[in-house]
């Protein structure tokens, strides 16, 4: 019985081309209209160290990478051990490993793979024979995988042709030979792996993109024409992408000397009337604390994308965590309102970013988009048709407003007319000091209170207009999961399995963190028997923040752990099961 859903993992080191192979297969899958999620992981070496690539391909919609792999390709057992606990084969997985690896099989301990098919493959030998170089190992492997697991060779071959088509004469031919050799070898394997054969009908091609790319495209879509940023893992791809596409769109980009300058520059750009964005990760967000307060005080719309990684400090730069919520919501001295959004997957990165620009313009507030590495750097297929989103532009002051222009006029919504340099009657001198309606410095406590009230009032409007969240599962349930960001995927996957096992479970995933969709959340909380928070940070930042806003039901359960590993489906299931069986607020991570 073939399958509609297959997860492959490939492990090797520097020269093995594991990631290239993964990319080619992902593209091939997307071309066939499959749903694909691809994730990479690396060791500490800057280059040439161990790397792994995990690829899930499915004929049906999928929302997470999935924890356990059906097919494991190991070029080198030494590299594999570095990913212990991260790459976990299923009990009955198919394991293809380099036949010439000297490590004795009995030394290879994969506790989960109790019933696996272990297939030695002479990858190096096949490649050398067919192409004259072992560098083609990954292309040979592609041939094997395509043949064994039913990824139409048509697409994979096209991928090979595309990759080598422009290289010098002979290269393409050699690689095609390698590909054929792989397919041929596959036929000689005497193990039945047909249960792992993907079965699907080809449909329209999908886009393949990362969360970071989705944010970058969304910025262009939203009308962002100025970007300033400083490189930092795992957000630099936004800078990279925009360095190419922003100028093409007629915009401008500056790589600044640091993050303080980056936020300063986009505050300047937006003050000047151009929609502006920066992107960063935790350390950069921390450096932006003072400037964030300035944007809040001077009421200047800006969008700050924070792709979260493990913290505090330099932490785990290449791994995901959801621990910048406190900084995003509470960071900066003084009472400084801001908006915080949290996309839940690659596609949602697009929507969150456009929403961010829209809300920024509507409220003249800084908007932080809290993505995380697990979304930002994971490559997923997306339906192009889903990437549409209304764009709201800055409202310029009316002639009437300009007649007696007050930049910070008190209004029912707290939002005042913002004029842009070049407007004749709209001159004002803004500042980060407390000021009166005309922007003049004012230090009276009465004015300060009035202006604080004005600035915070803007949040009410957003809470009303943008109650962004996702409700997964049934309307009423025994267990109600609250999670955010990249955790939505594994939660959604786990819920399918739990529901199949008769567990009554739903989930509430906020897409806006500040202001929080309180009304919807309280309704949701009332719809479940036990509320369960799942967070990938140590202290439970969303949970604690929510406690400042609403009274959570007695008996609410909180599971938090530090990041470094994405929330897994198994973990979600385990936690829900433990809620249903025994009490306990925090669980140890063990591995």
């Amino acid at each position: 019985m073939p399958t509609r859903d297959l997860t492959l993992a490939m492990v090797g080191s520097g020269g093995d081309g594991v990631v290239t192979m993964g990319d080619m297969m992902a593209q091939a899958g997307a071309r066939d209209g499959l749903n694909v999620i691809k994730v990479e992981a690396y060791g500490p070496q800057i280059r040439g160290g161990e790397s792994s690539c995990t690829l899930r391909m499915s004929a049906d919609p999928i929302s997470a990478q999935g924890d356990a792999v059906d097919v494991l390709v190991v070029f080198n057992w030494a590299d594999f051990t570095r990913f212990k606990g991260e790459v976990v084969p299923k009990a009955d997985a198919v394991i293809l490993y380099e036949a010439s690896d000297p490590t004795p099989l009995e030394d290879v301990k994969i506790p989960t793979a109790t019933n696996a098919a272990w297939i030695p493959v002479p990858f190096v030998e096949l490649a050398t024979k067919a192409t004259g170089t072992k560098a083609a190992k990954n292309i040979v492997t592609l041939g094997i995988l395509a043949e064994l697991f039913g990824i139409p060779q048509e697409s994979v071959r096209k991928a090979v042709e595309f990759k080598f088509g422009k290289k010098k004469a002979g290269v393409l031919e050699a690689n095609l030979k390698g590909f054929a050799a792989g397919r041929e070898f596959a036929g000689t394997i005497g193990v039945d792996v047909s249960a792992r054969k993907l079965e699907y009908s080809i449909s329209a091609p999908k886009l393949v993109m990362t969360g970071n790319e989705a944010c970058a495209v969304a910025a262009l879509h939203a009308g962002c024409r100025f970007f300033a940023g400083y490189p930092i893992t795992p957000s630099s791809e936004v800078l990279h992408f925009l360095s190419e596409w922003l100028p093409r769109s007629g915009g401008r980009i500056v790589q600044t000397e640091d993050e303080l300058s980056a936020l300063g520059a986009i505050i300047g750009g937006s003050f000047a009337g151009v929609k502006s964005m920066t992107s960063t990760s935790g350390p950069g967000l921390s450096l932006m604390a003072e400037m964030l307060g300035l944007a809040s005080m001077a009421e200047i719309p800006v969008v700050i994308l924070d792709v979260q990684r493990g913290g505090p400090s330099t932490g785990l730069p290449t791994k995901s965590e959801q621990s910048d919520l406190y900084m995003a919501v509470f960071g900066s001295h003084g009472d400084a309102p801001r908006i915080v959004l949290a996309p839940t997957d690659v596609e949602d990165c697009f929507h969150a970013t456009v929403d961010a620009f829209n809300i920024a313009e509507e409220t003249q507030l800084p908007v932080i988009v809290l993505s995380d590495q697990a979304i930002g750097q994971s490559r997923q297929t997306v339906e192009k048709a889903n990437l549409v989103h209304e764009v709201i532009d800055r409202r310029t002051p009316t002639a009437e407003e300009l007649a007696d222009y007050k930049r910070y006029a008190q209004t029912p919504t707290g939002v005042s007319p913002m004029s842009v340099p070049g407007t004749k009657g709209g001159m004002y001198q803004t500042n980060g000091l407390e000021h009166d309606e005309t922007a003049r410095p004012a230090s009276s406590h009465v004015m300060h209170e009035k202006m604080s009230r004005k600035r915070f009032k803007k949040l009410d409007f957003v809470e009303e207009k943008y109650p962004l969240y996702v409700h997964l599962g049934p309307e009423k349930a025994d267990v109600g999961i609250v999670c955010w960001g990249s955790s939505k995927g594994p939660v959604e996957e786990a819920m399918k399995e739990l529901a199949a096992n008769g567990v009554s479970v739903s989930a509430f995933v906020p897409r806006i963190i500040m202001p929080f969709p309180k009304k919807a959340f309280l309704q949701y909380a009332a719809s479940v028997k036990t509320l369960v928070f799942l967070e990938v940070n140590f202290v439970g930042q969303l949970y604690n923040y929510l406690r400042t806003l609403v009274d959570l039901p007695a008996g609410t359960r909180v599971f938090t752990r530090s990041g470094g590993m994405n929330l897994s489906v198994t973990e979600v299931k385990g936690r829900i099961e433990s809620v249903l069986s025994e009490p306990g607020v925090r669980e140890e991570v063990t591995a």
Partner: protein, 295 residues
């Protein structure tokens, strides 16, 4: 600064037209009065349209200046005038952007932005009001406070050597570097007109006495040291300029250095023009094409 309006006759704007009706908080006798007056005159000489002009600053006594100029203004946070000016100018190249601030603002907390704005040859005119002290916070040592001076924060005398802002600007890569004195109105106006007309990063260090924390004497002492650059001075030579930096006995005003190199906006514009070729009317739809499998 690049886009300067051509002078029509008779002038539409008088210096007084650039004066806002906010009363300066400065102490009587503060050098910054001279600086803002010179700015009104220079703006009038260039007939800058107030609404197409933005004056940006950080925090300090001197950084209050934008409030006193009838134009768009941004009195931002300490040390960050130049990042904000960068954003304004790059996003809207047609605006006239002037950045101003103090020696603490520009050389202590903001020193890195000064370096990088200079290096980029950003099209902004930057005026540093150098009073050799932190005025607003009541008299602590600044990076230009002479070594040994007793200030509020250096009870036993300033243990640190000072820097020469003009020398820094030159090695940072600024393409127009000048020194002025707030007590020399005519000279200052000329320098400002030249600085505002320069294409690329123009830096003007104005010695602007702080009567409150450097003593009433500072003005007289500076005035006595005042010198001009010699006839035939070669302002295109960095080496020549260094003969007039780190002065102690003299205070030489004038344009120490000038070079003609593409400005940041020149370079960005060239790239942008090239980038847009073949991508006219780019839509999200078209951008998204790159994410489809290319085969």
């Amino acid at each position: 600064m690049s886009s300067v309006v051509e002078t029509p006759a008779p002038p539409r704007f008088q210096p007084g037209d650039y004066k806002s009706d906010l009363k300066p908080v400065w102490c009587a006798g503060c050098g910054d009065f001279g600086v803002v007056s010179a700015m009104y005159r220079a703006m009038a000489e260039l007939q800058l349209e107030p609404w197409n002009t933005v004056v940006v600053s950080g925090i300090g006594c001197s950084s209050r200046l934008p409030g006193y100029v009838e134009a768009y203004g941004f009195n931002s946070v300490h040390g960050r005038a130049l990042p904000i000016a960068t954003g304004i100018k790059v996003a809207r190249p047609e605006l006239n952007v002037v950045a101003v601030g103090g020696d603490g603002d520009g050389l202590a907390i903001g020193g890195n932005h000064f370096l990088h704005a200079s290096r980029r040859n950003l099209d902004v005119f930057y005026v540093l009001m150098d009073n050799e002290i932190y005025g607003l916070t009541k008299g602590q040592a600044a990076p230009t406070t002479p070594s040994g001076d007793k200030t509020k924060s250096t009870f036993f005398g300033n243990p640190e050597p000072s820097v020469d802002p003009c020398e820094l600007a030159i090695s940072f890569g600024a393409t127009w570097v000048a020194r002025g004195f707030s007590g020399d109105m005519k000279g200052l106006v000329d320098l400002m007109v030249a600085g505002m007309s320069h294409r690329g990063f123009a830096f003007l260090n104005v010695m602007s006495p702080c009567v409150t924390w450097r003593g009433d004497d500072q003005f007289k002492v500076m005035k006595a040291k005042l010198r001009s650059l010699p006839e035939g001075y070669d302002r295109s030579s960095r080496a020549a300029a260094f003969a007039y930096t780190r002065e102690t006995e003299t205070l030489t005003t004038g344009v120490l250095y000038e070079a003609h190199e593409p400005s940041l906006l020149d370079r960005l514009e060239a790239q942008r023009t090239k980038a847009m070729e073949g991508h006219e009317g780019l839509t999200t739809e078209k951008v998204l094409k790159v994410f489809f499998p290319p085969f």
